[in-house]
Amino acid sequence: MRLIAFAAALFASCAASAQDVGKEIQRYRPMVAAGSPAELFELPGEELWKKPQGPKNVSLERCDLGEGPGVLKGAYAHLPRYFKDADRVMDLESRLLYCMSTLQGRSRDEATARVFGSAERPSEFELLSIYIAGESRGVRIEPGMSQPKEKATYELGRALYFHRVGAWDFSCASCHGDEGKRIRMQELPVLYKPQYARPVIASWPAYRVSTSQVITLQWRMNDCYRQMRTPEPTFGSETTVALIHFLTVTARGEPYHGPGNKR
């Protein structure tokens, strides 16, 4: 209770120096990010990638994430992109689900029984995402934008970003639409502008310090919609992939920082 009372007082007293607060939080973030506990999950992620599973008892090592079967270096930084075999644009997680189904023979129900995990036990998608994303450290973010479906997915994502839905009539832009907004002490980045999207997108998936959990962009889309008081989107759906694609394209050119920390 004391903490909440203090935070309220801090908020009130800091109203005039909100910029200083923002600057200090900007200092806080890299300090925590150096040596993010997210790295701890790269090893279990690698083990999962190599583990034979499903009715076909095969590992994911032949999964093509866009750079060729089994090629991980730079793959994450070039997603989302169009995949001919699935005839759709996919982000990392929807592509992993596709490989779990086609390579390993797993059913969608079984593979998605637990898409978001816990601090003690991250989900398969979370562990795989951290590992695979780690292999794109330093690689320029360049999602697919040449193929017609890639362009269409971008346009859909852009439209969705500004489309108001749900009980509160919120869109992404309701929170992430104007400069200088924040919720309590969190600055709300204007994600349709490259200069704000770049540092944000370049550090997902991440380790969430407040819950010690690994979080991914699929989780973020789900949780944003939940906070907007809409039904949760289906994991790996066209909606989620389109939004992720829009955000990633907006962030393109930024060297991928590697899995980082989020509050």
Binding site: E24, M31, Q186
Partner: protein, 145 residues
């Protein structure tokens, strides 16, 4: 894993036999102290001289009290130990690092802070104690991220 990465990552964490427990000391009295004064007593520390050569690098505001990064470096000659206390935590004594021949008096660690508080660092050098303090504000965050 990219083998060209400059860092070397050991692939195994291996378990050590229990006898190690007998060798490691942990100052229960000091760590269980509920006030900074009692913690200092438990550590056998009387007076400590403020020193500018004891540097604390930490954010003024921590977005989340669960993980507050603190970097400590001592330029005091002969520093053999660094002690970290978070004054307003339920148990203020947080860590003690003893540096033997071969180690520099430097450490970076992540700590938990229950509320805005002074972080007090002590350095032991040549039987004397030196101290430096920094206030870190702790906020609760909002949603997102």
């Amino acid at each position: 894993m990219n083998p060209l990465r400059r860092t070397l990552i050991a692939a195994l964490a291996f378990a050590i036999a229990r006898p190690l427990a007998a060798l490691a000391a942990w100052n229960k009295e000091a760590f269980s102290a509920k006030t900074p004064g009692d913690a200092l007593k438990g550590l056998g520390i009387g007076n400590a001289t403020p020193s500018k050569d004891l540097q604390i690098e930490a954010p003024e505001i921590a977005e989340n009290g669960a993980v507050v990064p603190i970097e400590i470096a001592s330029a005091i000659a002969g520093t053999s130990a660094l002690i970290v206390m978070i004054e307003k935590n339920p148990f203020p004594l947080t860590a003690r690092f003893d540096f033997k021949e071969g180690a520099l008096p430097f450490v970076k660690l992540n700590v938990k802070m229950g509320e805005t508080s002074d972080v007090r660092v002590l350095a032991e050098a040549g039987g004397k104690y030196f101290t430096a303090t920094k206030e870190i504000k702790v906020t609760i965050g909002g949603c997102g991220g």
